[in-house]
């Protein structure tokens, strides 16, 4: 948020001040505000928030006193000038500005006379507007705003769906990349990349950072150039070229102190000296937030095309092109692959895999998962704003009812309909502006709170803030709210006879039925909305409970994990690397504070399994089959440490790593699928890609949710990690010692073996599980908050309507009581009215909730979107709140003194 905007806003606020103060001191006031903003804004979000509170308090405090004090003084001085202040309407047209400012003053005075009304209305509105602005800020940043690349709407991701091999998508092959690049006309530029993790050595400590190996065309496709030095050029991609590296601005500042002379020097990456050729602009992190450097991908156009799909791809649509067009063209190119790249693609492969091509905009790709939850939240707070507006409209209606006489009097004294409209619109606008200003303050805090509780994986969360667009949204909300509740009371003023108004004003008779009906329907719709929100948050609460009850298949408590990555260049061969991991394992195992230790390539939840072709033998019919199933690679100790439950056989042992007689562990689901009704122990299975000998199943473990709590446990096989020849593994340590103690022991052991191995991503396993749940929790807490506000607003609405109708019907009730009605009968009559409204609202709400339940299904887990229990509880809760809100006026009605009410007639 910038200072200019604050000043523009303050100048608008300044117009509310009385003319003498504005004329004499306006400039000075703006100057003081500007100085204060400069002083406080330097202290970040907190400072800015403090500034807005300070300013809001000042406006709220000074405005009423500036208008009320002169009045008080005049009254004290015995002045009777208030009588006759209203000029004949014929003179008004000539002084519109003065009229508006007078209406403003009237409005403020009216609010000062009835602060409870003004405060209730403004606070109600500010809650609605604030919640909307805060959530819009999130949605805007995450979903709506273009990515920070030129014409980013034209950027697309390209991938290969392979329905025949499962739901995952493949990247591009090298041959396919060159083929597309050469032949595509719908893509003006096109690049491929991979996202490895690399180890930076040299300097004080080794560090593992995210990297991207890119074709030169990735940077030209994104149209982003380094701020210092040169970009990666096609020559850098040629195999055997001098190794070079581009640094992210962050990494350059953090690790190298922003030293410009670094360009041209070399730094060791994975143990190989690479020349720094440039630094990318701040904020550039393609393809992911953790990307800290870019190295050239080695690409050989002359290489023989093979069916190996390692590369992610980003392209730029030509001017005016669409993704559909691109898909159409790339599909026709794919269809020619068996003919043009016969070494890689056979028609048989095509038939089996259903090899296809997909093109999505980068923005869609980035936010695919987050969008559903965020839209739900935005819809929710939109409903809350609607409820807030309905409440304020109700307040206005009640007020309008009470002011019939005043209106009639104004009309009798010559005010025409335009005057009345302007008068009441001014009131609603002033109120809406107050609500809006307060709402923006709430939003400022709200966003800070949202960022604090947001799950780590939420894309682009770091770019968040309340900005001009969000304030624009708050403004629109405000304007709509003002229009809505400003005109509702006026719509029903009608063209009825003036004297009728005066008569009605004098006698609280049967009139105002129409108003009562509007208010009732407002309350009914509020209850309906509240039910929708309550049911939604109830379903999410049950989702949360279900997630907590999920049997993960392992025990994350007391397990610490960290990733160890060696620099392969330091080791003579793969066997030496495996010896390092074995030594590290043994060293850690010997520590007294460690109860067990294990290693894996793919940590549960954090890393994906490979879904690869696997041969499974000894089937019940004696044959074998080749299937795509989830493969994981782990070593001895891993299963015990993770607390995975052994159902049969034994855990993996050191001997199972032996190539001569390798062993494997399978999950229950796999064992039951392929060897139903018999023991899986001793059965043969092997990973296809390594051409390894058959592995014997040595143990069966219970199912494991390897891909996250919300994903079903899939049949999985764990092969010995030595099969995959890893250079980077996650180590898991079970220990009751504190995290820091475990980590320092880990550091000692590992660095004694090889000081260049960084220890990265060190977290308690429980944290990984918690983060996985975080997105659901995030949505749930927002929805829960909205539902609570809805319940509150609904209760206030019911109370207001019933309470007002009781006071309007006081004489009727008085007569009933005088004629012998029991207090209890009167009370239940009023309560009955409340419950009738509540029932209608709940009924309509149920219909709406069931109609909308498809929206929420995507974020639910372990509970049906029509879960009866949730709906019954929501209805009961709402009915109970309605009964309580109706009880107070009912009791008042029952206690009315008939004599008193009849006398007031």
């Amino acid at each position: 948020m910038n200072g200019q905007l604050v000043m523009v806003a303050y100048r608008l606020v300044l117009r509310l001040y009385p003319q003498p103060v504005r004329a004499n001191h306006g400039e000075e006031m703006t100057g003081a505000v500007e100085a204060e903003w400069r002083r406080r804004a330097g202290r970040g979000m907190r400072g800015a928030a403090a500034f807005f509170i300070w300013l809001a308090v000042d406006v709220a405090r000074s405005l009423p006193s500036l208008y009320v004090m002169p009045m008080v003084r005049r009254i004290r001085a015995g002045s009777r000038r208030r009588v006759g202040r209203d000029q004949p309407s014929s003179r008004r047209g000539r002084e519109p500005v003065r009229n508006i400012s007078r209406d403003l003053r009237h409005a403020l005075r009216a609010f000062a006379r009835n602060p409870a009304f003004a405060v209730t209305a403004a606070v109600t509105l500010s809650l609605g507007i604030g919640a909307n602005t805060a959530v819009f800020s999130v949605v805007d940043r995450v979903l709506l705003q273009p990515l920070p690349y030129p014409e980013s709407e034209n950027l697309v991701m390209v991938a290969h769906p392979v329905p025949g091999y499962g739901s995952g998508e493949w990247g591009l092959s090298q041959g396919g990349y060159f083929y597309f690049k050469q032949n595509s006309r719908t893509l003006s530029d096109f690049g491929v990349y991979t996202s490895p993790m690399v180890v930076l050595t040299g300097g004080d400590r080794a560090e593992r950072v995210g990297a991207a190996a890119v074709s030169a065309s990735v940077l030209s496709t994104l149209q982003v150039a380094p701020t210092i030095g040169r970009a990666i050029i096609p020559e850098d991609n040629v195999p055997g070229a001098q190794p070079v590296v581009l640094l992210s601005h962050d990494l350059w500042m953090r690790r190298f102190g922003g030293d410009e002379s670094l360009v041209g020097r070399t730094i060791p990456i994975n143990g190989v000296a690479q020349e720094v050729i440039g630094v990318m602009p701040p904020g550039f992190h393609f393809p992911g937030q953790s990307t800290a450097l870019w190295v050239p991908l080695q690409l050989d156009p002359g290489a023989r095309a093979v069916n190996a799909h390692y590369y992610s791809a980003v392209g730029r649509l030509r001017e005016g092109g669409t993704t559909d067009e691109a898909v159409g063209e790339l599909r026709s190119l794919v269809a020619r692959l068996p003919e043009d790249l016969p070494t890689a693609y056979s028609t048989r492969f095509f038939d089996e895999s259903g090899f296809d091509v997909a093109v999505r905009t980068v923005l869609d790709d980035t936010v695919q998962n987050a969008s559903r939850a965020l839209w739900i939240v935005l819809g929710t707070v939109g409903l809350v704003l609607l409820m807030a507006c309905a409440n304020v409209a109700n307040l206005f209606l009640v007020r309008a009812e009470g002011r019939r006489r005043e209106v009639a009097l104004r009309a009798a004294l010559g005010a025409d309909r335009m005057d009345l409209l302007r008068h009441y619109m001014t009131e609603s606008v002033v109120l809406a502006v107050m609500g809006g200003v307060l709402g923006v303050c709430i939003a400022y805090f709200g966003v800070a709170a949202l960022v604090a509780v947001a799950p780590e994986g939420l894309p682009r969360i770091d770019e968040l803030g309340v900005d001009l667009r969000a304030i624009g949204v708050a403004g629109v909300c405000t304007a709509l709210a003002a229009l809505f509740f400003g005109t509702v009371p006026l719509l029903h003023r009608g063209d009825r006879d003036l004297t009728e108004h005066l008569k009605e004003g004098a006698r609280a008779g049967t009139s105002g039925k129409q108003h009562q009906r509007i208010r009732s329907s407002l309350v009914v719709s509020q209850i309906g909305i509240a039910l929708v929100l309550l049911a939604a948050s109830g379903l999410l609460l049950r989702t949360f409970r279900a997630l907590q009850g999920v049997e993960l298949g392992f025990e994350p408590q007391s397990v610490v994990t960290a990733r160890l990555s060696v620099v392969p260049a330091k080791y003579e061969d793969s066997a030496a690397v495996q010896r390092f991991f074995r030594s590290a394992h043994q060293g850690l195992e010997a520590l007294p504070l460690v109860s067990s230790v294990g290693m894996t390539l793919q940590l549960e939840i954090a890393d994906r399994a490979y879904d690869n072709a696997t041969d499974i033998a000894d089937l019940p019919d004696g044959g074998e089959t080749r299937q795509i199933i989830d493969q994981k690679f782990a070593g001895p100790g891993y299963f015990e440490t993770m607390g995975m439950r052994l159902l049969e056989g034994r855990y993996m042992e050191r001997g199972d790593l032996d190539v001569a007689a390798p062993g494997a562990i399978v999950t229950r689901a796999l064992a039951e699928e392929y060897w139903p009704g018999e023991s899986a122990i001793g059965k043969r299975i092997r990973p296809l890609f390594t051409r390894f000998p058959w592995h014997r199943v040595v143990g069966v473990i219970d199912d494991v949710h390897t891909e996250g709590i919300q994903q079903a446990a899939k049949p999985t096989v764990y092969f010995p990690y030595t099969d995959a020849r890893p250079t980077s593994m996650a180590v898991v340590i079970r220990s009751d010692a504190p995290l820091s103690t475990v980590l320092s022991a880990l550091q000692r052991e590992v660095w004694a073996l090889d000081p260049d191995v960084p220890i990265a991503q060190a977290v308690p396993m429980a944290r990984i599980v918690a983060d996985d749940m975080a997105r659901t929790v995030f949505t749930m807490s927002l929805l829960g908050l909205a539902a609570m506000m809805a319940l509150l607003l609904g209760a206030v609405g019911i109370y207001g309507v019933v309470s007002y109708s009781v006071s309007r019907r006081a004489s009727e009730i008085g007569i009933r009581l005088a004629l012998g009605a029991k207090a209890g009968q009167v009370g239940s009559m009023v309560l009955g009215q409340t419950l009738r409204l509540a029932m209608i609202g709940i009924g309509l709400g149920l219909i709406a909730a069931l109609a909308l339940n498809r929206v929420i299904t995507a974020v639910l887990f372990g509970v049906a979107s029509t879960d009866p229990l949730t709906f019954v509880v929501a209805c009961a809760l709402l009915g109970g709140v309605a009964a309580v809100a109706g009880f107070l006026p009912a009791r008042r009605a029952a206690r009315l003194d008939p004599l008193e009410t009849l006398r007031s007639e």
Partner: protein, 115 residues
Amino acid sequence: MSHNDNEIASLLPLTPVVFHILLALMDEPRHGYSIMQEVNRRSESKVGLGPGTLYGAIQRMEDARLLQKTEPPSGEAADPRRRYYTMTDVGRAALLAETERLESLVADVRQRAVS
């Protein structure tokens, strides 16, 4: 002196904001923002003076002749938007009268607390 005791008496009691503004102007003329900072410093931000409150009060105090505009002290950077205010004799008298009033209140409380 251009004022009489009746005029002063009609101004009492001073509101905390007016009292603090006069206090801030006791030693030297100040511009508005400087008054604001001084008041907030002296009251440890308890008075929490903002622009609306400050200039509303200044407007009223000018009307009541408690303070008046003055030339910027020589040596201060001239920001054309800033106007300097100084306490009038009426203001000084009102401040002293208010202080006496508070003193007698304080003395009263002390005496009762002791006895």
